[in-house]
């Protein structure tokens, strides 16, 4: 390990954190703008041209706000909780590759911070740490709404983490590795969204629950829990919780882009052109940025469309629909990979999307039948 390597890592880490911190600020603006347009409004347009300085104005306001701490709160945990929530959201992106290896000044610069061979497991384990922050924030506030918000988020995040993790397994099986760069390289010809369409849908649904976004924003359901786990937070501590939430959105979108949408690889219609990352490697960050942008729009779009679902139905959906479906998907994927290996014919892999779409249709049909049942409709 040379000094140059350490400096390179440091620079990459600092750049990534800075991207995430400013990206969070502009994600709030992006969300407000997109949400406004979806609702036939204009959105913030007063601070700077097209409201571009709005995030700065918000930040200044939050910094100068009074920090309140409930008199009977657990002081240490109340202080620690926002940090415990934010750090995993920042750390999780370390394994996401932002581009292929660049050759600059005779050095090979890799555009990721750590390419560990258990990359996907790392994501799962770090993502689950964020639950602690939220439940501690809820508990230490000594407020019943905050407590309930924290409890709900724990239950919800743990339940949906299973479906999320199982939706990763299909990708790992197809790649034969849990290393993120390997996963991206494996998608050179075909994105995994084509081979794992249902897995992608499960991932997208489960991520909404993971980052507590509408329609699964139970932990902060305004109408029921005022603001949920961050009811008692104000000023910069609230900003940290807010930042964690939005950084998790960015992180999870970058993970989704990497696992299912080809990562930093070019769009399929650009392969073998000058715009392919094999020829111009520095376009990698641009492609992954575009993909993250589109996935984030999906989250905002869903928020603008669907109402919050009831808590028991949320849990039922996670355990009774997503979990069995993702288990079935693993079975289907493994079977067809084995068949393809035995027959030595990669075309057999296309049996995965066909059969998994049938499995998905069966799941939808079962949901439909349940929803039509009289006693369920009344409940």
């Amino acid at each position: 390990m040379t000094l140059a390597l350490v400096i390179e890592w440091l620079i990459k880490a600092i750049v990534l954190v800075l991207i995430l911190l400013t990206g969070f600020a502009y994600l709030t603006l992006y969300e407000r703008k997109a949400l406004a347009r979806l609702q036939m409004r204009v959105g913030p347009n007063r601070a700077g041209p097209w409201g571009l300085l709005q995030p700065i104005a918000d930040a200044v306001k939050l910094i100068f706000k009074e920090e309140l701490m409930p008199a009977r709160a657990d002081k240490l945990l109340f202080f620690l909780a926002p940090i415990v929530t934010l750090v995993p959201a920042l750390v999780i992106t370390a394994v996401v590759p932002w581009g292929p290896t660049l050759h600059v000044f005779g050095h090979d610069i890799t555009l990721y911070i750590a390419d560990i061979n258990v990359g996907v497991l790392y994501i799962m384990s770090v993502a689950s740490i964020a639950v602690y922050g939220i439940v501690l924030a809820g508990w230490s506030s000594n407020n019943k709404y905050a407590m309930m918000g924290g409890l709900r988020s724990t239950a919800q995040m743990i339940s949906y983490e299973i479906a999320l993790g199982l939706s990763f397994v299909g990708v790992i099986l197809l790649t034969g590795s849990a290393q993120m760069t390997e996963i991206v390289t494996a998608q050179k010809s075909v994105w995994f969204v084509m081979l794992q369409p249902v897995g992608t849908v499960i991932f997208l649904i489960a991520t909404l629950a993971e980052v507590n976004r509408a329609p699964f924003d139970m932990p902060e359901a305004e109408q029921e829990l005022t603001a949920g786990y961050h009811t008692e937070y104000s000023g910069m501590k609230f900003a940290l919780l807010f930042m964690a939430e939005y950084d998790k959105m960015i992180a999870i979108s970058s993970i989704g882009a990497t696992l299912f949408f080809g990562g930093y690889r070019e769009f399929w219609f650009l392969s073998n052109t000058i715009l392919s990352v094999d020829r111009t490697p520095w376009l990698g960050p641009v492609y992954i940025f575009i993909k993250i942008f589109i996935l984030l729009f999906g989250m905002i779009w869903v928020r603008a469309t669907f109402p919050r679902i009831r808590y028991d139905r949320l849990m039922a959906f996670g355990w009774k629909v997503l979990l069995p479906l993702s288990l079935a998907l693993i079975f289907i994927t493994a079977t067809f990979i084995l068949l393809a290996q035995q027959a030595n014919n990669t075309l057999l892999l296309w049996g995965i999307p066909v059969v998994s779409l049938v499995a998905g249709a069966v799941a939808v049909a079962l949901v439909y039948r349940t929803l039509r049942r009289k006693e369920y409709a009344r409940a």
Binding site: A36, R37, L38, Q39, M40, R41, V42, W301, V302, A304, T305, F306, A361, V364, A365, V367, Y368, R369, L371
Partner: protein
């Protein structure tokens, strides 16, 4: 395909919101653009004048009596032909409305026997201090019509003896 209905419904919902993204926003950029108020809008009060410049308000305090929020304060003084503010015996020497108390119900309009007070179309009322919320007569009264004398006017005796103008059409 009926069993796939949940998916179709979800897609229809998404399509509906996406469609609205391409519609023109309905936002009115308020300080730059202002929508005209409706004819029956009840905004800030205006005290009116006759065409000859005399004030319609005769200081009778009926508006203050009708006011459910007790926002109006009227103090009246005697008119003379040397210093005439309004027709008849008396005029409002002090007329104050506390805009923090006013509920814009329009009862003062109904109570006024001379149609001196109406609720206008002005709605941009803001104050930084409680005292500023009390609008005196000078702020409420209409400007003098062009070419007419301001009040107090010097008038010939025996003309403005009636406080309330004679009704031309009793059904009006």
């Amino acid at each position: 395909m009926r069993v796939l209905e949940p998916l179709i419904e979800l897609a229809r919902g998404l399509w509906t919101t996406l469609r609205y993204m391409f519609e023109k926003p309905v936002t009115v950029q308020y300080p730059e653009q202002k929508k005209p108020v409706k004819a029956r809008f009840r905004g800030r009060h205006v005290l009116h004048r006759y065409e000859n410049g005399l004030e319609k308000c005769i200081g009778c305090s009926l508006c203050a009596a009708a006011c459910p929020a007790d926002a109006i304060f009227v103090e009246s003084s005697e008119n003379t032909d040397e210093k005439r503010f309004s027709p008849g015996e008396r005029y409002a020497s002090t007329y104050e409305i506390n805009m923090l108390r006013c509920i814009y119900c329009g009862f003062c309009e109904d109570a006024c026997p001379t149609e001196a007070i109406t609720l206008g179309d002005q709605y941009e009322l803001s104050f930084t201090e409680r005292r500023q919320a009390i609008y005196p007569k000078e702020m409420l009264i209409e400007p003098v019509p062009a070419g007419k004398q301001p009040t107090p006017q010097k008038t010939d005796p025996g003309i403005f003896t009636r406080s309330v103008p004679e009704m031309k059409d009793p059904t009006d």
